[in-house]
């Protein structure tokens, strides 16, 4: 794992520009600007987040957070009153995009998500960080893993402060105390977590096996909520046993341009191979022949477009080591050839006599 380092000042800003090529502005608000960039050394895509007037205290804490459910911070710089974060780019879509596309999750899948987000909050609360803006657009998915992003309005809990001076967060998800009634603490994140879960369940929690947990999370008075995320995890444990084995299905994600082009090319070849050939005498011959040809085309694209999520289960295809990745591709190529030869043999045996004679001649 790459560990983040803390930098300060203009020199690092110059270093940052030399280290990364800024590709695009992803979003911009009066709080921050988010840019996509690519590392000049290894070509890795990253996200650069410039947070205006951010508290310095949060920097050291952010560097210490290590969780698969919290976005990995690669570099942090305190630049005057601003904080610049370089984060690992997470491929995948946000929960917001999923919901906006009409996506729905089962009760068990939501529970699985609930547990993952509890782990994310445990990791940040342990470092004294309060997210303060937990909502579907700040939750990303990568290979079925939920990752909490966007620490723009996060703050460090100050036990000596009685209330927040500035309201931050998002209406609908923010806890009542974030509107200035009291100081926000980890119970504010617990409130938002409950609201997100409620939304995922379509607003109706009656009959849901963990409804009491959600109700307690969303209590108006922080004193009546869970006092820590560990308490939630303890309560969810009996329910989550049943759900431990399943994997949240891959959420629909925004497809990258090269991937789109890949699909178009594959689609084109599929159409070409569907054209009738002279040896396809009967309908049966046509079907058999096309099974073989489509297999030839589609399987060729499978590892490159990650069809059937092959990179998740085929050996070495997802490996960080380049040579092992090549080995994975070689193994796939062997499997591809063997599968094609086998299919060819079966198809040839099943062709009509006329087709066979045409193929022989």
């Amino acid at each position: 794992m790459q560990y983040a380092t803390l930098h300060r000042g203009v020199n690092f800003l110059i270093g940052l520009s030399e280290k990364y090529d800024i590709l695009d502005t992803l979003s911009e608000s009066n709080k921050c600007v988010v840019m996509s960039a690519r590392s000049r050394t290894d070509g890795e895509q990253v996200v650069i987040r410039v947070i205006y007037n951010a508290a310095e205290g949060i920097l050291q804490s952010l560097l210490r957070v290590k969780s698969p459910h919290v976005v990995q911070v690669l570099d942090v710089v305190q630049d005057g009153s601003d904080v610049i974060l370089v984060e690992k780019f997470i491929e995948g879509g946000t929960l917001r995009q999923f919901l906006d596309n009409g996506g729905q999750l089962t009760e068990d899948e939501i529970l699985f998500l609930f547990v993952q987000l509890c782990h994310a909050l445990t990791a940040i609360h342990r470092e004294g960080i309060i997210h303060r803006d937990l909502k579907p657009s700040n939750i990303m998915f990568h290979n079925g893993v939920a990752v909490l992003i966007d620490f723009d309005v996060a703050r460090q809990h100050d036990p000596f402060q009685s209330q927040d001076t500035v309201y931050m967060g998002t209406k609908g998800y923010a806890a009542p105390e974030q509107y200035g009634f009291a100081q926000t603490d980890k119970r504010s994140d617990i409130y938002s977590l409950g609201v997100v879960m409620k939304e995922l369940l379509g607003g109706r929690i009656t009959g849901v096996k963990y409804q009491d947990v959600i109700k307690k999370c969303t209590q108006f008075d922080p004193a009546n909520r869970y006092q820590s995320v560990n308490e939630i995890l303890k309560e969810l444990r009996p329910f989550s046993k049943a759900g431990r084995a399943f994997h949240i299905r891959q959420l629909r994600t925004k497809m990258s341009v090269p991937k789109k082009i890949g699909y178009v090319v594959m689609g084109f070849y599929c159409l070409v191979v569907l054209l009738p050939q002279p040896h396809e005498v009967t309908v049966w011959d046509y079907i058999l022949s096309k099974i073989l040809y489509l297999e030839l085309v589609v399987l060729l694209f499978v590892p490159f477009l990650n069809i059937f999520h092959i990179r998740d289960w085929f050996p070495f295809l997802k490996h960080k080591n380049f040579l092992l990745k090549i080995l994975g591709l070689f193994l796939y190529a062997v499997a591809y050839v063997v599968l094609l030869l086998e299919t060819n043999m079966i198809v040839n045996a099943l062709y009509s006599e006329q087709a066979k004679s045409l193929l022989v001649s």
């Binding site: 600007v33 650069i48 410039v50 007037n53 610049i84």
Partner: protein, 141 residues
């Protein structure tokens, strides 16, 4: 319609009471920050921040910080932003004043090249080439 600077100067010369001057000319007194000014020009020129920044040739992170008001840019960086906006010289001077800097001055050789660049819609690189050819320091990006 805002009063011209010369007009305000004449009023001020005749004015006996500074409080009354401020009271009656309050709208014409500029108290905007550079950041506020930049936002107003974005609306006025109907431009996107990202496009202005790209055209200015400034470091993108630094430029966003200028827009956010968390960085105090040098005069050259404000000039680079003028080219990002493809501004008129008058508007460019408004920006410079908001940043607490002196107007573009036609008697100054380097400023004259910048004014020429703005008047002729040159981009930053073209103005830099011109400055270089004329032995002047290029715009510091």
């Amino acid at each position: 319609m805002k009063k011209r600077t010369e007009e305000l100067m004449q009023i001020l010369e005749k004015e006996q009471d500074i409080v009354s001057y401020i009271h009656y000319n309050n709208e014409d007194l500029s108290s905007k920050t550079l950041s506020e000014c930049l936002s107003e020009f974005l609306a006025q020129y109907d431009m996107k921040k990202a496009d202005v920044i790209n055209r200015s040739g400034l470091n993108q992170i630094y430029a966003y910080q200028i827009f956010a008001g968390t960085k105090n840019p040098s005069r050259d960086k404000v000039i680079a932003l003028m080219f990002g906006f493809m501004m008129s010289v008058d508007d460019g001077n408004v920006l410079l004043r908001a940043a607490g800097m002196s107007d573009l001055y036609p008697r100054d050789k380097r400023d004259a090249v910048v004014i020429f660049g703005l008047n002729n819609a040159l981009d930053v690189e073209e103005v830099d080439d011109l400055l270089f050819e004329l032995g002047e320091q290029t715009i510091e990006n």
